[in-house]
């Protein structure tokens, strides 16, 4: 589903590489934690997967497509297959919960009937049925993140990328979000989640890829956050 082949990335004007010779293969339906300190290259990894930046060296294949060979006008199509969730939720404050989710379908030109059918379904999946007409600032952080996940998942993407989705949430709420991501993963969606949250990684026992200074220093299935000595 996602394959990094000898990928290096050096940002313009910087001498140090953000990623260096990274080789990673993530299969369809996997749940992968991306761990490492700030500046270790997690965000770069995710941005390259979304083709927000190009690699400096190497190739990235996403859903069978070589991102380096993808012309600019095809990028939007590619991104429709990837849902994205962030630490800061990124909801539109002037739209209701349902409108925020519907927005993701509207702007890619989905028919209204499809939107009317899909949005309540996905809101129910994330446990927000009954809160469709609330505004984001009337919701708790956990609920806001559920809206963001609903928005990311509403178009049934093959891949869900989550960049520290529990970073702003208390531990109890985080568990709920992780359960939700796990449920989405069980539908066959590949989930890649960058996180600092030790207890979550330790509890879930999923594949862990650890980055340090742009290198992959660990790649274990059923791993934990820290090194096991």
């Amino acid at each position: 589903m996602i394959r990094f082949e000898n990928v290096s990335k050096t940002y313009e004007g910087q001498s140090k590489a953000a990623l260096l010779n990274v080789n990673v293969e993530i299969e369809k339906g996997e749940f992968v934690f991306l761990v490492g300190t700030s500046g270790s290259g997690k965000s770069t990894f995710l941005r390259l997967t979304l083709r927000e930046h190009r690699t400096s060296k190497g190739h990235i294949m996403v859903a069978g497509k070589d991102l380096n060979r993808l012309p600019n006008w095809r990028i939007p199509q590619m991104r429709r297959q990837i849902g994205t969730v962030f630490q800061d939720f990124r909801l539109l404050p002037n739209k209701t919960v349902a409108e925020n989710v519907a927005f993701a379908l509207q702007v890619i030109g989905k028919p209204r009937a499809h939107i009317r059918k899909t949005v309540p379904e996905v809101l129910e999946l994330v446990g927000l049925d009954g809160k469709e007409d609330r505004m984001p600032d009337e919701l708790s952080g956990g609920e806001q993140q559920r809206v963001a996940i609903a928005r990311a998942f509403v178009n049934r993407p093959m891949i869900l990328i989550a960049d520290e989705p529990t970073g702003n949430l208390d531990p109890g709420t985080s568990v709920g979000i992780m359960k939700l991501l796990d449920r989405i993963n069980r539908t066959g969606t590949t989930v890649v989640m960058a996180t600092h949250d030790v207890s979550i990684v330790d509890q879930m026992r999923k594949r862990v890829i650890e980055l340090e200074n742009g290198h992959v220093v660990r790649d274990e299935s059923r791993g934990v956050y820290g090194y096991q000595h």
Binding site: P76, M78, T84, L92, Q106, V107
Partner: protein, 303 residues
Amino acid sequence: MRLNYILSDLGIGLKRNLSMTIAVVVTIWVSLSLFGSALLAREQVDLMKGNWYDKIQISVFLCTKDSGGRGCSGAEVTQEQKNRIQQVIQTNPDTAPDGVFSESKKEAFESFKKLYKDSPIVSTVTEDQMQESFRVKLRDPTRYQNLVSAVAGLPGVDTVQDLRQYLDPLFKALNGLQVGALIAAGLLLVAALMQISNTIRLAAYARRREIGIMRLVGASNFYIQLPFLLEAVLAALVGAIFACGTLWVGVYFVVMQRAQETFRVWQWVGATETFRATLIMVVVGLILAVIPTFLTTRKYLKV
């Protein structure tokens, strides 16, 4: 692609940047008005040239009792003198073949009456006061000097007039007007372009959340650009419509109401030319709005 989402986006965008949008509209309005005036000035020159430059003539006015020209002796020109003058003109190498027409007092009076038919001056002038003349067509309208000097001063010749002498200053003035209007229009259009790109930068910043999410969920670039393009097109269209209105009002009051009445001798630009000019203005306005919008949005909405 759903029209109502796009339209609601457009409404929000316009409201958000109302003052900037108004500034763009006004700038486009004024610059297109000037551009249109320049177009009309050119049409006017063409019209006048079409009317006169083909038939450009030297007019040789002959003596009457009252004229005080060099070749006049206080008496009417005699038939003998007339024959002599006609012969000089006809044998001059610069005169076009069959290019000599004589105008009698009667003919001169007729055309005078036609020209000033609404003016009270007609009643004070008699046929006898008119001047007989020879109208000469030249082989090459620019080579008039030779004939003028050959004829001027012959007995019976009062004055020799070259039309170019009268028209050239007018054409120069119209050309100057046209160049001036084009320069001013150009400067204003540059200002309009910068305003448009500035407006878009502000609008893109104001909408950065939406745009960020649109890019993230895979909205096409065109879809993201569309509200900006529509905004610019709408502003340009409103500005262009105002400019067209301004031009029509100008043509109506300045040309149709005044110039046509005062200077009937010439043909003036009218509805046809104005219509043509307004069409060009609208097209130019739209192109000038769409191109910078397209480029600026590409820059600020970069995928």
